[in-house]
């Protein structure tokens, strides 16, 4: 696979790892947050911690759209799916996330709701066309990467005159989340979350460009490196962040130049702007309600808006008792700090969303990395 395999090369990895070890040998710690779940996944799956010196610590960030979706929105989706005649379509990632009473969309499906996994908004549209007497709802979730395909679908539905298609919109905006972290008491006041730099989103930035992250460097003085999701990309970004830290610089750098420009994809951005309005506030798990952090369909697409078409409970629901997802998403706790991790909470019986998505901090650590906890315990 061209442009994939090259970026997983073990020999090159050893070279970068050596450079990191060399350049990080300053006696100080480096606390680097990988914002994206994609990075979290790459770090765990490829065993990147094994290649890093002990003083370079990776902190999982809130960049997993499945993980940050509050329980109440899952409940809403389940409520829609259970209405007679509804086919609820969504991406596979979200099917196993537990809502209230540990009921997930998968369990609702087993209970009779017509829930279908799709790989693309085009599939949801096709299902709507094939089932004119059913209500097809696309449960849209995702960051800026995933939002333009939803916009395309809404426009296509309007063009086709589909009356049985709507979108339950949960698209959220990454800069708002990073601002949420930076403004959190742990970072600003308590200092309990030491943060020396941020590995910035890859595919989000393909769409919105690198510019929207400049406030991180400018306002908060933290270096950012936009990085691809292959393991060499991540290693290189870590090295670039260490260099900025060592040099006392704080700018936005772009490691993922092969697909990211400062401006991003204007066509996609314009389409999104034409389709959605920014919500004044939207609830993020772990970060609370963040201003200007979520999207909803514009008034002119009201008939395609499932929130206006279906009665949903719309209740704010607290996380499961004992689940530390919120703190883990803010980076203030590690998965293994959670008492439920690996005992009560596992991927088969997730208590929180971080244990569901392959990009959630808890799932990534459990699935790929938990042997390290035991190694530490005996060493």
């Amino acid at each position: 696979m061209k442009y994939v395999d090259e970026f997983r090369d073990a020999a090159l990895a050893r070279g970068i790892a050596a450079a990191i070890a060399r350049e990080a040998a300053t006696g100080r710690p480096y606390h680097l947050m990988e914002f994206c779940g994609g990075h979290t996944h790459a770090v765990s799956r490829y065993g990147i911690p094994d290649l890093l010196p002990d003083n370079v610590r990776m902190i999982h960030g809130p960049g997993c759209p499945v993980c940050v979706l509050p329980v109440g929105r899952i409940d809403d989706a389940i409520a829609i799916a259970r209405q007679p005649g509804v086919i609820l379509c969504t991406y596979g990632d979200v099917l196993r996330v537990p809502g209230s009473g540990r009921v997930s969309l998968l369990k609702a499906k087993a209970g009779g709701a017509d829930v279908r996994m799709v790989l693309s908004t085009m599939d949801a549209l096709r299902i709507a066309e094939e089932n004119p007497d059913r209500e097809v709802v696309f449960f849209a979730i995702g960051f800026e990467t995933t939002t333009p395909p939803t916009a395309v679908a809404v426009h296509a539905a309007r063009a086709k005159g589909l009356r049985n298609f709507s979108v339950f919109c949960n698209h959220v905006l990454t800069p708002a989340a990073i601002r949420g972290i930076m403004d959190s008491p742990e970072v600003r006041d308590l200092g309990t979350l030491a943060l020396d730099g941020v590995v910035g989103p890859a595919h989000v930035s393909v769409v919105i460009g690198s510019r929207p992250y400049e406030f991180v460097a400018e306002t908060y003085g933290k270096p950012v490196v936009i990085a691809g999701f292959e393991p060499l990309d991540v290693l290189q970004a870590i090295l670039m962040l260490i260099r900025q830290v060592n040099e006392g610089r704080a700018v936005v750098e772009n490691q993922f130049t092969r697909a990211v420009t400062p401006e991003g994809n204007w066509k996609a951005q314009r389409l999104v702007a034409d389709t959605f309005d920014v919500r004044s506030g939207f609830e993020w798990r772990g970060l609370g309600s963040l201003p200007d952090s979520g999207l909803r369909l514009k008034e002119e697409f009201a008939t395609f808006d499932a929130e206006r078409r279906f009665a949903v409970p719309g209740r704010a629901v607290p996380d499961h008792k004992g689940c530390e997802c919120g703190d883990i998403l803010r980076g203030v706790k590690k998965p293994s700090d959670c008492k439920l991790f690996g005992t009560v909470c596992t991927p088969e019986n997730p208590m929180g969303s971080c244990m569901v998505s392959a990009e959630g901090g808890c799932a990534a650590h459990y699935t790929y990395g938990r042997f390290r906890d035991h190694r530490l315990a005996v060493s």
């Binding site: 998968l106 499906k109 087993a110 209970g111 596992t346 088969e348 019986n349």
Partner: protein, 348 residues
């Protein structure tokens, strides 16, 4: 290392339901197998946890048989699909004159099926197997999407061993042979019918579902040379006799008045316009033996609780048309033909 370490939370057998992950081959499936099937069926062969069971072959000819069970409803008066899946296959083993030893069980579960119901019928299955003295030594579980199955289907395979000198088979009926049945006809089918929404009537009839190997053991001890043994399940007595007549190239002559029938079964059939000779049994057998063996065989049957109402119902005759005929209670004669079409679907 205990299971607790592998499965962090016990299956919710009270309120849970089957979902697709229970058939995925992953940990959810392993847990279902461990906490439900293996717990209920526990025996040394199964406990090994391999994909197959290994055993030393017994002395004697072996028999193997398989049946799928798709009965609807899953729970019915006198049994459920779990006990039926044991009895049905134990009986097909027994109809070779054999002693049943091992069963295998394949489950096809429908997404959404309540685990509480699954537990109930798995335990019923385990109970039936224990009663019959057979071990369920290996199995398999698949899950299909909602609307692609019907709760639970079970396929069981039975293995048994035949005592020396015993070789009943469907082609061994000979003109002059006696035709015996072990008890009343049609109880199972009527019990199932009484539960069907669009038929529902009230009756005390319960399915006769039972394991017949004990009865058979007594029979082959008394008359090792019994010619034919067969359980008249789907299609009832009529169809099963036609099968045998066809296999053996003979005709049969029955006496209607001799065929044991519960009054309520007769009444239910009258009500529905059905002929009880075509209604399914799950705990009865047909035995065909030389005329001179009929007495001792009947005596052996009646000596067993499951054969208490055994009866001599007719005779094998020469007939190139292989007709099964019957002298009616009324004094006339008629053919008792194969079931054509269906009398009632999904009775086993």
């Amino acid at each position: 290392m205990t299971d607790r370490r592998l499965f962090t939370r016990k299956l919710d057998l009270a309120r849970g339901a089957v979902d697709m992950s229970h058939g995925s081959g992953g940990k959810a499936m392993a847990q279902l197998v461990r906490e439900l099937f293996a717990a209920a069926f526990a025996n040394p062969l199964l406990d090994q946890g391999n994909d197959q069971a290994a055993f030393d072959p017994p002395a004697g000819r072996m028999v193997v048989t398989t049946d799928g069970f798709v009965v609807s409803p899953l729970f019915f008066p006198g049994g459920d699909i779990g006990s039926l899946a044991v009895h049905g296959t134990v009986n097909d083993v027994a109809m070779a004159g054999a002693v049943p030893l091992y069963l295998t069980a394949g489950f096809i579960l429908e997404e959404g099926f309540p685990l509480a119901d699954l537990k109930r019928l798995v335990e019923s299955m385990a109970h039936a197997a224990r009663e019959a003295g057979v071990s369920i030594v290996t199995g398999d579980t698949k899950v299909v999407e909602r609307g692609k199955g019907d709760g639970v289907f079970i396929t069981t395979t039975g293995i048994g061993v035949v005592p020396p000198g015993v070789a009943p088979s469907g082609e061994r009926a000979r003109p002059g042979d006696a035709i015996l049945v072990s008890g009343t006809m049609g109880d199972h089918g009527v019990a199932i019918m009484s539960t069907r929404e669009n038929l529902s009537f009230e009756t005390d009839i319960r399915s006769d579902s039972a394991a017949l190997h004990g009865l058979v053991a007594g029979m082959v001890a008394a008359v090792p040379d019994v010619h034919v043994l067969r359980d008249p399940t789907r299609g009832g007595l009529a169809t099963t006799l036609n099968e045998i007549a066809h296999q053996s190239g003979v005709g049969m002559l029955l006496r209607e008045a001799a065929i044991p029938l519960k009054a309520e079964v007769a009444a239910a059939c009258e009500l529905l316009g059905l002929d009880p000779l075509y209604v399914a049994n799950e705990g009865k057998l047909i035995a065909i033996c030389a005329a001179e063996d009929a007495e001792p065989l009947l005596a052996a049957m009646r000596a067993h609780p499951l054969g208490a109402e055994a009866a001599f119902i007719g005779t094998v005759v020469e007939d190139s048309h292989r007709f099964v005929q019957m002298e009616t209670r009324f004094g006339g004669k008629r053919i008792v033909d194969w079931l054509s079409g269906e009398q009632l679907p999904r009775i086993c």
